[in-house]
């Protein structure tokens, strides 16, 4: 064993810090090397100082008060959570990030909200005018579905005749309210899908979401 290794091992003296093999090799080295043996004696001073400090247990004043504080803390856990959040937002980086996030969220919400609101308004207009003019529920549903399809086409930027055919096929199953809700779901999800940027992915997602939402096989 060389002196460098021996000196490292000398600092790791406690029971579970050295293997039996390391212990034996170190003992042999110390019997042969005066310098390392002297260092070993220096370390005795370290051990004595440490023993004294480790033996000095910190004194906990008012332990009952600490227990009471903990018990009160667990009862007002929600308040503590809020305080932690407030504390967290005192950090400048998080403050800036949170502000940016809020601005982006407001922007997205506004865009989404007005877009959908506009689409629904248009859909409602078609529904009402059809209702007044014909009163035929099948015709009404077809118009609604057609309008929904137009909205999807506008949002997604492509026209899917297959989707249109299937949607009309299922339109008879639904009431006016359901159709309106259906259109709303289409608009809502179309917006989300639009953000994926991939048209085939958009189509698959749209079909699967609407199928799941309305429990139909499109």
């Amino acid at each position: 064993m060389d002196c460098k290794t021996a000196r490292k091992l000398l600092h790791l003296l406690k029971d579970d810090e050295l293997s039996d093999n390391e212990r034996i090799l170190l003992r042999i080295h110390l019997s042969e090397c005066m310098e390392c043996a002297a260092l070993s004696k220096d370390l005795d001073i370290y051990q004595e100082v440490l023993k004294e400090i480790a033996g000095q247990e910190p004194h906990l004043s008012n332990p009952d008060q600490l227990t009471a504080g903990i018990m009160s803390g667990i009862r007002s856990g929600e308040k503590s959570g809020l305080e932690n959040t407030v504390k967290l937002f005192r950090m400048p980086v998080l403050r800036i990030a949170a502000s940016l996030l809020i601005v982006v969220q407001i922007g997205l919400f506004s865009y989404q909200h007005f877009y959908i609101a506009d689409s629904i308004k248009e859909l409602k207009h078609v529904t009402q005018s059809q209702d007044i003019q014909s009163g035929d529920p099948n015709s009404l549903n077809k118009e609604c579905i057609e309008e929904s399809r137009k909205i999807i086409t506008d949002i997604l930027g492509y026209d899917d005749p297959d989707f249109n055919r299937k949607a009309i096929k299922y339109s008879r199953k639904f009431s006016n309210d359901e159709i309106e809700d259906y259109a709303f779901q289409i608009c809502r999800y179309s917006y989300r899908i639009e953000n994926t940027g991939n048209q085939s992915q958009m189509k698959e997602l749209l079909i699967s979401i609407i199928s799941n939402e309305l429990n139909i096989n499109l």
Binding site: E17, L50, L60, L66, M71, G73, I74
Partner: protein, 194 residues
């Protein structure tokens, strides 16, 4: 039930069971049994009685919140010390972020704050001075390994679990910490004792 070392303990399984059922009385028993161990570790790490108490309080609140997920195969003290150490780490790290002037001011304030407590208990003040002097130049990791192993006297295996470090990494940090501290002790001895 005690597991060899006086600071490695496991509460009665019945207490844990009751705590999982949100029994506040049982939790109080758990707190009374373990808060002094948690305080002892936190105090030695952050060197402030008030900060240590805050850390102990937050640790037990977290334990209450997550006790349903506690794995009884892990020693309770390992879990407790892990939470305490993490909070102490954050405390030490945030202290380190301050600039030197602020740090000096905070240290003085900490001593003054602790001094209030120390007027009630001189020993705490003396202990702060000694540990501060010894661990002055250690990195946070070295300091944590040193306190857990040499002052809180936990086995290397426990330290490794608490700090989520390999046993080899614990030993390396321990070696570097002891090397540094030994040099400080020798200098102090030459100057007439530390």
């Amino acid at each position: 039930m005690e597991a060899g070392n006086s600071k490695i303990l496991q509460p009665n399984p019945d207490i844990i069971h009751k705590c999982r059922k949100r029994d506040e009385k049982a939790f109080k028993v758990l707190v009374e049994q373990f808060q002094s161990y948690a305080f002892s570790l936190a105090f030695r790490l952050v060197l402030s009685e008030d900060d240590a108490k805050d850390i102990v309080q937050e640790s037990f609140i977290r334990i209450w919140r997550h006790i349903s997920h506690y794995n009884s195969n892990v020693l309770f003290t390992t879990w407790l010390y892990k939470i305490v150490s993490n909070l102490c780490y954050d405390n030490l790290k945030s202290n380190k972020r301050r600039n030197n002037a602020k740090l000096q001011l905070a240290d003085n304030q900490a001593l003054l704050t602790s001094g209030d407590s120390a007027s009630r208990n001189f020993e705490n003040k003396d202990l702060i001075r000694k540990i501060r002097q010894l661990s002055k130049n250690l990195t946070i990791k070295q300091r944590m390994v040193f306190v857990l192993r040499d002052l809180h006297e936990l086995p290397v295996k426990e330290v490794s679990k608490i700090l989520i470090l390999s046993e080899g990494a614990v030993k390396t940090n321990l070696y570097l910490a002891r090397l540094n501290i030994r040099k400080r002790i020798l200098v102090s001895e030459k100057n007439g004792g530390y």
